[in-house]
Symmetry: C3
Subunit: 140 residues, 3 copies
C-alpha cells in the first residue's frame, strides 16, 4: 500500500456547478502509480463543495444551480448569520448538502468513474477567489 | 495493509429506496480478510445513489421516496435538461444530495454498522437496468 | 501504511448542530502517528449525522437547524413512519442528507482542515442519549 497527498488550488469559478475532473487529474500524476485504490478529494472551504454527477450536458449543471437556489433560498426570514451577504448562509447549507469530499475508486492508475460521471466543483458564493483542495490517493 | 476491489452489478430495482446490505456483503467475501479497515461502496451512475439509513421498518424507505419527490419535484419550471423525461433532472439532483459513495468501518472481517443501520440503493429513475457498484475494502 | 480504529461515544447533545472537532481529536491520540493519511469518522446511528462546516459563528449552526426544519418538516401528510414521534422520520431524512461519515485529510499528524472548517455532530432527535462514533485513521 502506498499513499500520496497533494494540495492544489482551483482558479476562481463563477457561482454555479462546474466540471473539474481533468483539472484535478492533470495536477496529480501520482494517480498513475496506484493500481488498485481510492482517491479522496477534500475541499478546505465551507461555502463551496464537491459532488459527482453528469459530465455531458451543461444544462444539468445549470439546473443544479437553479434548484439549489430554490431549495436553499437567500433571505429566508429565519437566517441570523446575514452579515456577510445574502449568499453566505445558503452557501454554508448547500456545502453540507453536497459535501466536503468525494471518494473515487482508482483502477489501473486511472479514476474508475462511470461513463457519464464527472467531478463537480460547486461554487456557492457570488464573489470568490481560488479554492484549495487536498488530494489523497492510496492503494497498491 | 491490504486492499481488495471488485465490481458488481445490482439487478434493476423499482424507483425508490432499497436495502441492499446483504446483496453487497454476500458478493464480496474478501471483506472477511480485513481485521481493521474500511469499505468504500461507489455507484457508477448519476441518477441513482447510495446512503445509510434505518434497516427495519419499510415505511422509512417509502417516506424517503415521498419526501425526496416533494423536495426535488418533477417538472419544475426552471429545468432545462428535460429531454430524457420528467424524472431525469430530479434524479441527478437527488443523486448528489444522497451521494455516490458510502464508507463503512470494517472490524474483525465484518461491517461495523450500528444496530439499525443498513445500506440503501436509492433508485431515482422510473425505467432502469442494473446498477454497477465498485467495492473497495482496505485495512490490516 | 498503518491503520488505527477506535470507538468513542459523544455525550447527549440537544437537537441541533454542534462543533465536536476537539472532542474527537482529543480522544484519538493515534492521529499523531500518521504523517500522510485520512481520518474517517462514522456515526452508528440513523437519526444523527456528521458534516463539516463553519467553525466560528454560532448563528451558522442555528441557521442550519432552522433551515433543515423547513426543508424537512415534521408532520408532512405523506409520512407513514410516525409511531416514534413527529421528529423521527425527519431525523432519518436529515441524517441521509448530511451523511453518516466524513473524511478528513491528515497531514503531519494533524487534521488538515481549512481555517474555517470544523466537524459538526448533527443531532436530529428531540430526546437522545450518547452517540457512538467509529474513528479510523490510516496512512504512512
Amino acid at each position: 500500500m502506498k499513499i500520496y497527498q497533494k494540495s492544489i488550488t482551483l482558479p476562481p469559478f463563477p457561482r454555479g456547478f462546474h466540471l473539474v475532473t481533468e483539472r484535478i487529474v492533470s495536477q496529480f500524476p501520482e494517480l498513475s502509480k496506484i493500481n488498485t485504490g481510492l482517491l479522496n478529494i477534500f475541499i478546505q472551504h465551507t461555502s463551496a463543495s464537491l459532488t459527482i454527477n453528469e459530465n455531458a450536458d451543461p444544462t444539468v449543471r445549470k439546473d443544479f444551480e437553479s434548484h439549489m437556489n430554490k431549495m436553499v433560498p437567500e433571505n429566508a426570514p429565519y437566517y441570523e448569520h446575514t452579515i456577510e451577504g445574502p449568499d453566505d448562509m445558503p452557501a454554508h447549507i448547500k456545502a453540507s448538502l453536497m459535501g466536503a469530499s468525494v471518494q473515487v475508486p482508482v483502477t489501473n492508475g486511472r479514476l474508475n468513474l462511470g461513463t457519464w460521471q464527472g467531478i463537480y466543483l460547486c461554487e456557492h458564493r457570488d464573489h470568490v477567489s481560488g479554492r484549495r483542495l487536498v488530494l489523497t490517493v492510496y492503494g497498491s
